[in-house]
Symmetry: C2
């Protein structure tokens, strides 16, 4: 049974109160809550316990359960996702903190072959430089990991006499909900999932008066044609 559906059963257990204290949960009762047979309810509890989402104990003829730390984290992340899907449909919102890059972003972005492709896909020639945004909230990191798996616009690599310039993937975005921008994932990225590289037609640090460590919001537009 996969995580996707296990999560939904975790929510049910949370609703019954298993997030706070051990509760008595005869599988015969759970079967009506889960909408499955008693046998399946039993199996589901065992799978949840095996995955360490719940702690399960047999006491005087009954099963008692409580969500584990891992189970609570799972449920909280899932709730955030559901609410987020409703409140921010079509966009992936991430908040993080401005960070100084190595300055090599500027070098890459300024290459004419890249510039042309950015204009074609995003609609603007980017200012030569990237704004690195470091994510701290685990939820935003998971969102970034998710985003990086999506297709986006393909930026093709190329080679000059001297060296090879790798390909990338880019998404339309907004910074601080107002400034047109793009989020770039280099194919051979040096960053982990906790860093987002942002480009824009304007020099963002100036336009938004940003200093290292300032909080900034990046909203990726998933359906910007």
């Amino acid at each position: 049974m996969n995580r996707r559906v296990l999560r939904t059963y975790l929510i049910d257990l949370l609703k019954l109160g298993a997030g706070e204290k051990m509760i008595r949960t005869p599988t015969t009762h759970l079967s009506v809550v889960f909408g499955v047979s008693q046998q399946s309810a039993s199996r589901i509890l065992n799978e949840l316990a095996k995955e360490d989402y719940i702690f399960k104990e047999f006491r005087d003829g009954n099963i008692w359960v409580i969500l584990t730390e891992k189970g609570m984290r799972e449920v909280e992340e899932y709730m955030k996702y559901v609410v987020d899907a409703y409140e921010h449909p079509g966009t992936i919102v991430m908040e993080g903190y401005v960070e100084s890059g190595m300055g090599e972003g500027a070098y890459y972005i300024s290459k004419r072959r890249y510039q042309i492709q950015f204009k074609d896909t995003l609609g603007f020639y980017p200012y030569p430089g990237t704004l690195n945004v470091r994510l701290k909230d685990p939820y935003y990191i998971s969102q970034n990991r998710f985003l990086r798996r999506l297709p986006g616009y393909k930026i093709k690599g190329f080679r000059t006499k001297e060296r090879i310039f790798g390909g990338a993937k880019v998404f339309k975005a907004l910074v601080e909900d107002k400034i047109e921008a793009g989020v770039v994932y280099a194919e051979r990225s040096i960053h982990g999932f906790d860093v987002v590289e942002v480009i824009s037609p304007v020099y963002l640090r100036e336009a938004l008066n940003l200093k290292d460590g300032d909080k900034v919001r990046v909203s990726v537009l998933l359906n910007a044609d």
Copy 2:
């Protein structure tokens, strides 16, 4: 594929922006969003469309989808449920409006054989009368439907020389988050899922100064030992 898991895919589509306008969703892309194969993504879309949760169209080589009204309702109800599970664990909260019953509630509740059982299960002898609360919000109605399927405490029926008194099921509850109460479901109830019958050791109308039509909150405690 059951409602439980279809809902989770609906959330994903909502996140992609399919709640607002038609979006292009190649099954090859969806497969990474859903975490399944391309073939399954295709099948899932077809099932969602068959259940009328989404409208799906094939246009110049791509699939475009948008959530239907039914899909949006489903997603909204599910979100409420998830948030509710997190914010009100272990209780089922329902809000409704005070209504006049036929007065027969009082007749039943006052029967000694019932009174004793209420004292045993709820811990109090109920005031002879019930407060009928009519639910309007569809979410509360669905919660009530759900609750009515749970076991609760069994109240046994009995017979006198004159007639038969049916069995019931009772849950511990709080009215307005403060007054000790019980929610009763008669086995042969005359009410639909939009009415909750509340009993209490005190005369609720007086204690809370309630008149017909007043809004009242009933919180059923699922784990009150």
